[in-house]
């Protein structure tokens, strides 16, 4: 056994975060660690990596207890964490990033640049990555940045690499590339602990699984022993009802809510489409294809050069800023909730009320109507089942899933006609995801129209009525979602891309 975790417990104050957690890991094994937000995954990772050392129980690495070792000492013996957010320095080259903190030097003490590039090239070749050591990291794709992080760990003789949600924000192809890379390395003898929210990819990649729930571990499952449903039940501790949308016949005759004609903007050459009242329209496309760009253009985040937007037949002023889109009942939920969603230091209540301060909540002399504010916040707090003390808790203290619920509440508080959601379920747990999906599904019955962009086609096909395929800044294909499978969608997307290219 490479790593043995033996009844590790950890309390913060009166709260038990880890409660006798056990798991073990062989050489060359890919071991998945699953669990809801707040289940204790982060604390376990910290205990393994040595950020936290005051836990009860024992962790052994290559047969020896490492409980007394610090982070740096554990790195020296080969335990590395590759964090969720790429920890690279964008302005440095690939080689510089690999050698950070440990620069080869010449006799006179200056950095030995020639050798840096030679060594880096060797390392990159050895681990089978294609980018050049002289490239600046900011020019690398996200997946290559993740690979670079892994190479950096390997270069320091890592034996165990902990990948913390490595696939977040990656496209399906990039994800596959990363998986091949990881599997190759595992064959060469490196062990991985793989943390992910996507059960499907966990099943594909991992040899064995451990589930954490409320600080307890459920371990020892090997590939083939459990299926997706069993795992997800184990994660949440109850049966999760997957939200499936009933496609109603009425939709075909529903009036048109949003009508976009010949929209030209950054990354969009010519986009025309319509969205019916109460419809969920799925947007599909590679990064840069125009799918995200149309969302951001409609939200007022990317300027629209020409084209016309109509809502319920009335021509809209093309939004130049998000507040202009909001005023016209179009609201956007960004794919990046940390950067463009939450204000962590503000309480839930003040986050939810941000977009309606100037409209619904404005009272005399610029004062905020606090009674109404609390009422609205309370309403979404209970509807979306946000887990927190109260609406007065700071959003920064919440888990990812609950933060996302706050972001969704914020968007819905404006009572929009058109809701544009961009990757609303990235990095959140299954239960939160289904709660969000069901609420959106319900709201379409009351006339909400939705543009839905996600790379998770399983999820998209469960809720979308119709699909638009984007390529090269325009719409290449349109399909009604009549029981399509993710594989069919991927095929359609790729062929649409090729058609446009030729």
């Amino acid at each position: 056994m490479l790593l043995e975790i033996d009844h590790v417990s950890k309390c913060y104050g009166t709260k038990t975060v880890l409660d006798g957690v056990s798991m073990n890991l062989k050489k060359g094994e890919i071991h998945a660690l699953l669990g809801k937000n707040g289940a204790g995954k982060t604390t376990l990772v910290k205990s393994i990596s040595g950020v936290t050392t005051d836990y009860d129980g024992t962790i052994r690495f290559e047969g020896k207890s490492i409980d007394h070792l610090t982070v740096l000492e554990r790195q020296k013996i080969g335990i590395y964490v590759v964090p969720q957010h790429a920890s690279v320095i964008p302005e440095f080259t690939v080689a510089e990033n690999i050698f950070i903190g440990d620069w080869p030097r010449k006799k006179n003490g200056f950095v030995d640049w020639n050798h840096i590039y030679i060594y880096a090239k060797e390392a990159l070749d050895k681990y089978g990555v294609s980018f050049s050591p002289r490239q600046k990291v900011k020019d690398l794709s996200l997946v290559d940045q993740r690979k670079l992080n892994i190479v950096r760990a390997l270069f320091s003789n890592a034996k165990l690499i902990i990948l913390d949600e490595p696939t977040t924000a990656l496209s399906a192809e990039e994800r596959d590339g990363l998986f091949e890379f990881v599997i190759d390395l595992a064959k060469q003898g490196t062990s991985f602990i793989f943390i992910s929210h996507y059960i499907e990819e966990v099943l594909r990649l991992s040899d064995r699984y451990t589930v954490l729930r409320d600080g307890k571990s459920y371990t020892g499952f090997s590939r083939g022993e459990v299926d997706e449903r069993q795992l997800s039940n184990l994660i949440v501790g109850e049966d999760v009802e997957l939200c499936v949308r009933e496609r109603s016949e009425v939709l075909a005759r529903a009036p048109i809510a949003l009508q976009c004609s010949r929209i030209k903007a950054r990354g969009l050459t010519d986009v025309s489409f319509h969205l019916a009242k109460g419809e969920i329209l799925g947007l599909i496309g590679f990064p840069g294809s125009g799918a995200r760009e149309i969302c951001r253009a409609l939200a007022g985040l990317n300027p629209i050069e020409s084209g016309e937007i109509r809502l319920h037949g009335k021509k809209l002023r093309n939004p130049r800023r998000p507040d202009e889109a909001l005023a016209q009942k179009i609201v956007y939920v960004s794919y990046d909730r940390h950067a463009e969603g939450i204000v962590p230091d503000l309480p839930i209540r003040e986050n939810i009320s941000l977009p309606i301060l100037k409209s619904k909540l404005a009272s005399l002399f610029g004062f905020v109507n606090e009674r109404k504010e609390i009422e609205i916040a309370q309403q979404y707090f209970s509807t979306l089942n946000i887990k927190a003390h109260s609406i007065y808790e700071e959003v920064g203290n919440l888990s990812g899933g609950n933060q996302q619920k706050v972001v969704i509440s914020k968007a819905l508080s404006t009572q929009p006609d058109v809701l544009i959601i961009d990757e609303p379920t990235v990095g959140i747990d299954v239960k939160s995801r289904e709660e969000i999906l069901s609420l959106i599904n319900e709201l379409t019955d009351t006339g909400l129209s939705v543009l839905y962009l996600t790379n998770d086609y399983n999820e998209l096909l469960r809720v979308a009525d119709r699909l638009l395929f984007f390529a090269n800044g325009t719409i290449a294909r349109e399909e009604i979602n009549t029981g399509l499978t993710p594989e069919e969608v991927i095929q359609m997307r790729d062929s649409a891309e090729e058609e446009v290219a030729s």
């Binding site: 371990t219 204000v343 977009p355 808790e393």
Partner: protein
């Protein structure tokens, strides 16, 4: 190794429990300025019981007024995560400009108006340069402050501007029912800001912009405008404190108000305003300016040489920054 099966169907809510001990530590860290203030008063009283005389306590409030209003202004800019190093320049030049015009025949109330409006104008320029042109506030406002300080020198040619009419100096030197007037505008400004920060749409937008400006922008807040307003308030209140200081001193000297810059930053930070933006309470700022004035006045009253005052001021800023850093590191 045994395989445990999930048998429980009940959902345990992941409620974050307050940790014992942390609660007090946090209470202490959040209100450290008031603890230090009480401690400061206590020590001063121990050394010299005359410290608690009405005259001295009044004197502290009077001394605090100018620093307090100046700090209240810059706090707006700190909350949006920017900095305004031009405020002492604004204070000095606008006071110099207004009093010069007044001594050349402008009625005193128009002179006051000129002083405040000039501050507002400079604040607007700062705001537009920072928000719209994305100039780095640190350097831009530093340059602006230098221009204005130099401007005062050019304007006065090194001479002090004196001989103000009584109506002009009344706010700084007058009294009603035997109490000085100067603390009144100071406290009114704080009261108004309290309501603005806590209760208004602008106040909310200010903190949202400071907490995460992109999120605020996507949520429909006109972030550029909020930033410009913050700088305008900073400049306007700097102008106003210039008027108060000129009225209090009865003169505008060449080095008018120059030593206040660092004290405003120290007062704001020790009062809990985060230099990275998004956090701060006006009550904390009030505590910060009172604390700094108590220490300064205390040193004077205790007869400690004025040669030490700057050093002690520096040490206070030092303490403030360390407290802020420790708070970020350990509480949260």
């Amino acid at each position: 190794m045994s395989v445990k099966e999930g048998t429980t169907n009940q959902v345990v809510q992941p409620i974050k429990l307050k940790q014992p001990g942390q609660g007090y530590a946090r209470l202490f860290a959040d209100n450290i300025v008031w603890f230090l203030l009480v401690l400061g008063l206590f020590i001063m009283g121990l050394i010299d019981s005359a410290f608690f005389s009405q005259v001295i306590l009044q004197n502290i409030l009077v001394q605090t007024a100018v620093l307090g209003i100046l700090t209240a202004g810059i706090a707006h800019v700190l909350i949006i995560g920017e900095i305004d190093l031009s405020i002492t320049g604004v204070l000095a030049f606008s006071a110099g400009l207004g009093t010069t015009l007044m001594n050349n025949g402008l009625p005193w109330f128009l002179a006051v108006l000129v002083i405040v409006l000039f501050g507002l104008l400079i604040g607007t320029v700062n705001g537009i340069l920072v928000a719209k042109l994305k100039a780095a506030a640190l350097i831009e406002t530093l340059a602006m402050g230098l221009v204005l300080q130099g401007g005062l020198m050019a304007l006065t040619q090194g001479r002090s501007i004196v001989n103000f009419p009584e109506a002009f100096t009344w706010i700084g030197q007058g009294s009603v029912f035997g109490l000085p007037i100067l603390p009144i505008p100071f406290l009114i400004v704080y009261l108004i800001i309290y309501f603005i920060w806590k209760k208004t749409v602008f106040g909310r937008s200010l903190f949202a912009t400071g907490g995460n400006s992109t999120s605020a922008y996507v949520s429909g807040i006109n972030v550029d405008r909020i930033k410009i307003y913050a700088f305008m308030i900073s400049g306007g209140l700097a102008g106003f404190s210039g008027y108060l200081l000129a009225a209090y001193m009865g003169a505008v000297t060449m080095t008018f108000g120059q030593d206040l810059m660092m004290y405003t930053l120290a007062a704001a930070v020790i009062g809990g305003v985060s230099l990275t933006g998004g956090k701060g309470k006006i009550s904390g700022v009030l505590g910060g300016v009172l604390l700094l004035t108590v220490i300064q006045t205390g040193l004077q009253i205790l007869g400690i040489s004025s040669y030490f005052v700057t050093m002690v001021g520096g040490m206070m800023i030092f303490i403030a920054v360390i407290v802020d850093a420790l708070k970020t590191k350990y509480i949260r």
